[in-house]
Amino acid sequence: MLKEIGRGLMTTFKMMLERPVTIQYPEQKRPVRTRYRGRHILRRYENGLERCIGCALCAAACPADAIFVEAAENTDEERYSPGERYASTYEINMLRCIFCGFCEDACPTEAIVLGDNYELSFTDRAQAIYTKEMLLEPVPPGGQPTPQKTPPGVYTRAVPEMEDPKD
């Protein structure tokens, strides 16, 4: 019996010598893993055009019905994305979202990705709905904000090039 007690205390004494695992959040933050699935980000191309083409495949893939997309047509005077079509409304209800990442898988242009941000808090339901402006990443350096005025004949593809999904 003493042997068992001794073995138990042994663990206790060992732990007293180790550094605590608790960190002082929010002053201290631990980096997330590379494949962590946090709040979504809508990405842009280097020139600032949005990757999202408003195809609503993310909304179709979403098991929680958290995404709402409405599309409209690009023109050279007012261009949001390289193709014919862009998302005029893009909303994610973060209360519904289960962060499964299916939207990321479904996206043909790799426009929506799940980011690192896990700090989501709301004080009412309306706040939980993230709009396109909130989700879009900032315009990269050297890029232009959307809508852009583009020369005719440059963006003739209906959809931008789609890559084979690689891990």
Partner: protein, 817 residues
């Protein structure tokens, strides 16, 4: 009965009539052979090569004519060296077909890959994506990977407008020619065709204006790829996001079965709105088709001018106050009347009629065309079906331009004529029906001679003989150039002709009124009296209850000092609503349920598609609430219970049941998700095909009064006779909210013969001032050859208030100024 043939498809024994195409026979056995260019309503073309199958035919001994047997006693089969198309081969006795064999699958896979060599694969942004046969069949039969890089593919124009309603994407087109064949074979106007050859082939429109057809929207339904899409639905939503509600088209009296696709929309402040209209299969009414007016004209239900709350003296008030004021107005008036239009449901009209009877005031139906009394007695009866007409039958179309007034009836009459029915057209000018349908006889009469049409038909020996000998006779009558009274007497004469030729009171026989409203026939059945000229009523009555009509906006009623107490019940803010003392806000028919009675007397149900707008209420509920204030107890909640009351009260409705109106019957071709490649995206009918009313005159025939002869004007030397005609796209308050159609509607115009225009000193495109009786209006001049000399055609509901033929003078608008 044709000979039956038995064959084996994928091991399943199938027995079908001789001459059946293999692809149809397989579908009847539940086997889906993949197709792109084949469509069950069109002639086979064999363009896409998707339906490749292995076909074995029994070898026949030439000497005995008997099949050669192998050692097992089975007929020896002979296979062609290569695959054959199932859409062009008809069945034969003993045929053995493999649709899924290794060889067939290889052929199908190669075909898909070949079709995709120049397809852009832009499914994520394509409006067809999700209901696209090419997408579905590629998933089912095609290779998983494309061997063609995007840069190697042919790149063509992706946004070509074919007319203002349809867009063509040349990259997506697989050249199946379904759209070309639909226009040429079914509609009879070859406005689309192939241009160039080989790899450069493309679809072009050869008409001016481009894609000049009122059936253009249907090509987007049967297009097996996303090459043809509508401008209305462009990037509107993905198909899988849409909810569907069965309904009936409200734009004319045909009663086409449709589906409203709806979706909640951020653009419309989060309301649920209609995104598009699709045809709903009803082989007895509209097959798989609808016209462009029905497809694109729904926008009025969500117009900004919708009434959201009741009003009194121009200010919004509560329902209680509005109803109280309306009831007081009706109670205190000694001379009062109720006027309703054919836009209301049977239930609304029944409730209104009960209220009118209770208050002892007349109940009028506001209609430019009369004679419904005769259609009620001599119309089609239970079991009739226009698609049953064919060889040996006769169809008479009098004073109606069916193409412009009821496009689906044009289509059905044309199809019946193609099947061999004798088509007789009596019209003062050449209509599209005459140009595009195989007709037997044309009776050309002058405007003003409408009273003699039927008499002249009797005198023409050949026509009279055809009419007498016809197994079935259906008569369509319109009111080209006629006022209410003249069209009434024309209807009576037509009914007389039906009786005289022995066709009255029989199935597949009868009179059809080409009404401009969806439920005018319902009003006739429920005992409303026709009226069109409302000016006398406005001058003599103390109170008027107007439901779903806009006589001020149409220009029929002119403001003078005296105005009766006006109660107006409508869905839109019209000129009449602005004149009203009390406004009762009704909800659109898309927001409630009810029934319409079509021109062929078919009672059909429609269902709510979107939520009610603001504080509006169904018409029958408003009338019932008003009745309650006036001491009349009416059903205010349930359209079903009201319909049961109608069925109990009116002999023609006897035996009809609201719930059983939702019954359907098996139909060919099959429709639905799995059959999108086969028959297009027309929706299956699961919510009711409707039922035709029973004949009132069955057994006992009501004696007809002698045909009334009404005086009408004739064209004379040196004068201009103005004649009102119907155009499909008019400037009525229900069509103008559809911005997409403004190009088709155009400006107010007058159509003249070149000679008439020359005499009047005007040329095409000039603005003229027309003066007739004590009225005047401005219009643009159009010059067309088919107009009789000395006549000016003026479309109705286009801002020129002309209700019947009138003598007129033309001036150049500039000269007047």
């Amino acid at each position: 009965m044709s000979k039956m043939v038995t064959l084996t498809i994928d091991g399943i024994k199938v027995t079908v009539p001789e001459g059946t195409l293999l692809v149809d026979a397989a579908r009847q056995a539940g086997i889906h052979i993949p197709v792109f260019c084949y469509h069950p309503k069109l002639e086979p073309a064999g363009m896409c090569r998707m339906c490749l199958v292995e076909i074995g035919r029994p070898m026949i001994d030439r000497n005995t004519g008997q099949p050669i047997l192998d050692e097992n006693g089975q007929p020896k089969l002979q296979f062609l060296g290569k695959l054959e198309t199932a859409c062009t081969n008809t069945v034969s006795e003993g045929m053995v077909v493999f649709t899924q064999s290794e060889k067939a699958r290889q052929g199908q896979k190669a075909t898909v890959e070949f079709l995709l060599t120049s397809h852009p694969l832009d499914c994520p942004i394509c409006d067809k994506g999700g209901e696209c046969p090419l997408q579905d069949l590629t998933m089912a039969y095609g290779p998983a990977q494309s061997r063609f890089e995007y840069e190697d593919k042919i790149h063509l124009a992706k946004h070509v407008p074919l007319g203002d309603l349809i867009y063509l994407d040349r990259e997506r087109c697989i050249l199946c020619s379904r759209c070309i064949r639909f226009q040429a074979e079914l509609v009879g106007e070859a406005v689309l065709t192939f241009d160039e050859r080989g790899r450069s082939s493309q679809i072009v429109t050869v008409s001016d204006p481009p894609f000049d057809s009122v059936f253009s929207g249907n090509t987007t339904d049967i297009c097996p790829v996303g090459a043809l899409t509508t401008a209305d639905f462009r990037f509107g939503a993905r198909p899988w996001e849409l909810k569907a509600a069965a309904s009936i088209c409200s734009q004319c009296a045909v009663g086409c079965n449709i589906v409203y696709n709806t979706r909640r929309e951020a653009r419309s402040d989060g309301r649920i709105v209609i995104k598009r209209v699709l045809p709903r299969q009803n082989e007895e009414v509209n097959d798989l088709w609808i016209c462009d007016k029905g497809r694109f004209g729904y926008h009025y239900t969500e117009s900004r001018a919708r009434l959201t709350a009741p009003r009194a003296e121009g200010r919004p008030v509560s329902w209680e106050q509005a109803l109280q004021k309306a009831a007081e107005g009706l109670r205190s008036a000694s001379q009062k009347a109720l006027i309703a239009s054919g836009r209301l449901s049977n239930e609304d009209l029944y409730t209104l009629k009960r209220l009118a009877d209770h208050l002892q005031m007349p109940a009028y139906l506001y209609t430019p065309i009369g004679g419904g009394e005769w259609v009620r007695r001599y119309g089609l009866s239970t079991g009739s079906d226009l698609s049953a007409l064919g060889k040996g039958d006769a169809i008479l179309v009098v004073a109606s331009d069916l193409y412009e007034e009821a496009p689906l009836w044009y289509l059905r009459v044309r199809q019946a004529a193609e099947r061999g029915a004798a088509l007789i057209i009596a019209h003062p000018r050449t209509t599209r029906l005459e140009r595009q349908a195989p007709h037997q006889y044309v009776l050309r009469y002058a405007y003003g001679d409408e009273g003699e049409i039927i008499e002249r038909l009797r005198r023409e020996a050949k026509i009279a003989q055809t009419l007498h000998e016809a197994r079935n006779l259906v008569i369509f009558f319109g009111n080209e150039g006629m006022g209410l009274e003249q069209s009434e007497s024309l209807a009576a004469a037509c009914a007389d002709l039906l009786v005289e030729t022995g066709h009255a009171g029989r199935i597949h026989n009868g009179l059809i009124g080409v009404w401009p409203h969806p439920n005018a026939q319902g009003a006739w059945e429920l005992g409303f009296q026709p009226i069109f000229d409302l000016q006398p009523l406005f001058e003599t009555m103390d109170a008027l209850y107007l439901v779903a009509l806009d006589p001020f906006g149409d220009g029929w009623v002119r403001q003078n000092g005296r105005k009766p107490f006006l109660i107006v019940q409508d869905i839109l803010e019209t000129a009449t609503v602005r004149q009203a003392d009390v406004v009762l806000a009704a909800c659109a028919y898309t927001e409630r349920e009810g029934t319409f009675t079509s021109g062929e007397r078919r009672v059909q149900r429609y269902y709510p598609a979107v939520p009610r707008y603001g504080d509006s209420r169904p018409d029958f509920a408003i009338t019932a609430a008003l009745g309650a204030k006036l001491g009349l107890n009416l059903e205010a909640q349930s359209a079903a219970r009201l319909f049961q009351e109608i069925a109990g009260a009116f002999p023609a409705f006897k035996g009809l049941d609201y719930a059983r109106l939702a019954e359907t019957r098996p139909q060919w071709p099959p429709t639905g998700r799995a059959d999108y490649p086969f028959s297009g995206t027309a929706q299956p009918n699961t919510q009711g095909m409707g039922k035709i009313l029973s004949a009132v005159a069955e057994g006992t025939m009501t004696p007809l009064p002698p045909t009334m002869q009404k005086e009408s004007l004739r064209p004379e030397e040196g004068t201009l006779l103005l004649v009102p005609i119907h155009r499909l796209f008019d400037a009525g308050s229900l069509l103008t909210p559809s911005a997409l159609l403004h190009g088709r509607i155009g400006a107010p115009h007058i159509i003249l013969h070149p000679k008439t225009a020359q005499e009047a000193g005007v040329t095409a495109g000039e603005k003229v001032l027309i003066e007739w009786e004590d009225r005047q209006a401005e219009a643009l001049v159009k010059v067309e050859e088919h107009v009789p000399v000395g006549v000016g055609l003026v479309p109705r509901s286009m801002g020129i208030p002309l209700s019947r033929a009138a003598r007129a003078r033309l001036h150049l608008a500039e000269r007047v100024r």
